[in-house]
């Protein structure tokens, strides 16, 4: 995807400069920009905390003014004046279009099928996009106790699709089998034969430090579609704990532009909370 896709870029020489590829950018900035680009055309986004906060804010400023930010704390249509330091930060409330009860948020907005994209993080992801955010090791006595579900299990079951941003790409984080299935893919849900099937697609997109994986089929596997600049397909396959499917044509992830990096550093995460 080229910078010409970006709307709202000023015309002329300055525009050409700000649309140019940035000379220095971090891996985090690359990931955030890739995530932002994928939000073009999406309507309602359930924004988690951390890198998704940056991606959604960047997309809102550069690509998609109609994007509606929804937070599990009850806010729909947030217009934060400063970067939110949490999903229930006071700045997501002040000036928001609506604050509803958590029951309305989880019951009507999310479970009611009004969220196009949910953003989730994970410690582990499997080939069908099931996520583990509960434990490394055994649940009864874990090696690492992770945050657990929070809203993740609910988001996976109900959002139209789920984007995952994950900061590691190795056999520990992309294992053949999860230590614990917190938020199941539609494949895992179908296999269980219990409860109500997820109403959405499950994970459609995974953005990792090495590339981008996508799932086209609701019951299919993740497929490598992009490698980041300087990363080979073979590196990604070796870093993945299963036989990773690879697209016929693997593209290279677009590098951040000068303007994207400027926005991230100078307007969005001015305190470097997430851009570390």
């Amino acid at each position: 995807m080229s910078a010409a896709h970006m709307t709202g870029a000023p015309a002329g020489t300055a525009a050409a400069e700000s649309a140019a590829v940035a000379e220095d950018y971090t891996q985090t900035e690359l990931i955030v920009c890739a995530a932002a680009e994928l939000l073009a055309g999406k309507r309602t986004v359930f924004a988690g905390i951390g890198l998704p906060t940056l991606a959604v804010d960047l997309a809102h400023r550069t690509l998609n003014r109609d994007i509606e930010l929804i937070y599990e704390s009850g806010v729909a249509g947030a217009h934060p004046e400063a970067m939110a330091e949490g999903i229930a930060d006071s700045v997501v409330v002040s000036g928001a279009e609506s604050v509803v009860s958590m029951q309305a948020l989880f019951g009507y907005v999310l479970q009611g099928g009004n969220v196009d994209v949910g953003f989730l993080g994970a410690a582990q992801i499997d080939r069908h996009g099931s996520l583990n955010t509960s434990v490394i090791g055994d649940w009864e006595q874990p090696a690492v106790r992770l945050p657990g579900s929070g809203g993740a299990t609910d988001i996976m079951a109900n959002a139209g699709e789920v984007f995952v941003i994950i900061r590691r790409h190795d056999h520990a984080s992309f294992p053949a089998e999860l230590d614990f299935v917190t938020s199941p893919s539609p494949v895992a849900a179908r296999a269980s034969g219990r409860g109500i099937m997820p109403q959405g697609h499950g994970v459609s997109t995974v953005i990792t430090p090495l590339g981008v994986l996508r799932r086209e089929d609701r019951f299919g596997e993740l497929v490598l579609t992009h490698t980041h600049p300087g990363v080979t397909v073979e590196q990604v396959r070796e870093a993945t704990g299963w036989e990773l499917a690879v697209a016929d044509e693997v593209a290279v992830t677009a590098e951040p532009t000068v303007e994207q990096v400027r926005l991230l550093r100078e307007e969005i995460d001015t305190v470097r909370l997430y851009l570390r």
Binding site: A96, E97, S98, Y108, G113, N114, M197
Partner: protein, 318 residues
């Protein structure tokens, strides 16, 4: 296992005229909910449905009220889903009684619930749940005449629990004090079952007393009961709830409510009223002219302001 059809995605809302909204979103044979618990009843929208001659509707409303007598007399409705068959203190709804007691001029199908059961049906609909449990109905004959009230075994103890199924209207119409142009709607006073009925529906029309600047809405986000993403059309219809009321703007037209039962007791008089006031008017503005400006002014209320609270704005922290 069971999958549920997703809600239709809403585009950024466009404010439109009421007749256009009804023409676009309410179709013959639809299941239509007009909600508002005595307060904020969307009468103007109901009248427009009559003007456009919709037929074979399944009409959903906890308390059918006069609007049900009107829609049924205008032959818009084949089926009534509700939990009350009268008009509060104002007495009988005679068009409904004629249909049910004597099947005149033809029968009317009825699905009967209690108030709480109707609230829970909308809640289940809004939540895309297959059912909601309720403590009512043990020993009542209502489940006997409504096969959709069922039982499940309590998996935590003995015995069964009654459950009711979701209600998912094709269209829900509500009236609100105000909204912005995108459809974020604010309601105060009695809020009824509007939020549930809106989220339960495939399509949503909100009529409002006024459209206000975005900043008015965003200054007080907790009052936004209906977020814009749930709304398809927002229509400015001042006095759109008459003869019901809008808290803080105009009061219920109690004289109208008292006039209705004797009028509706005579089928010819009821139809004549519809011909004059609804079918004989091109719009709600003309309807209001028939009611009379002086009478409408008598319904205005004195001021009782809420006071303001502070939402705060972040300063740089130490």
């Amino acid at each position: 296992m069971r999958t549920t059809e997703s809600r239709e995605r809403k585009l950024p809302v466009k404010a439109m005229e009421l007749d256009e909204a009804i023409a676009s979103f309410v179709h013959d044979g639809d299941t239509v909910a007009l909600e508002g618990f005595s307060h904020l009843i969307p009468f103007a929208a109901g009248h427009e449905i009559i003007r456009q001659g919709r037929r074979h509707l399944t009409f959903c409303r906890m308390t059918p009220d006069l609007i049900a007598d009107m829609l049924i007399a205008a032959d818009c409705v084949d089926r009534l889903v509700c939990s009350f068959f009268a008009s509060g203190s104002a007495g009988s709804l005679h068009e409904i009684r004629r249909r049910l007691e004597r099947r005149e001029p033809r029968p009317l199908a009825v699905e009967e619930y209690s108030h709480h059961a109707m609230v829970l049906r909308y809640h289940a609909g809004a939540s895309r749940l297959p059912f909601m449990p309720i403590r009512s109905f043990a020993g009542s004959e209502i489940p006997g005449i409504n096969p959709d009230i069922r039982e499940v075994e309590n998996p935590y103890g003995e015995g069964t629990v009654y459950v009711v199924p979701p209600l998912n209207p094709d269209v829900t119409v509500i009236h609100a004090q105000r909204a912005d142009a995108r459809g974020n709607a604010q309601i105060w006073g009695i809020t009824g079952v509007q939020q549930e009925a809106v989220y339960a529906a495939k399509r949503v029309i909100v009529t409002v007393e006024e459209i206000v600047d975005d900043e008015v809405i965003r200054a007080d986000p907790n009052r936004t009961l209906i977020p814009a993403h749930a709304v398809d059309a927002v229509c400015v219809v001042p006095r759109g709830a008459h003869p019901s009321y809008v808290q803080g703007t105009y009061d219920r037209d109690n004289a109208f409510y008292r006039m209705w039962p004797p009028l509706a007791k005579d089928p010819a008089a009821l139809r004549e009223w519809l011909d004059t006031h609804v079918r004989g008017t091109a719009s709600h503005a003309e309807y209001l002219e028939r009611i009379g400006e002086e009478h409408l002014r008598s319904l205005e209320v004195a001021s009782r302001p809420s006071g303001a609270v502070d939402y705060g704005r972040r300063r740089a922290q130490a």
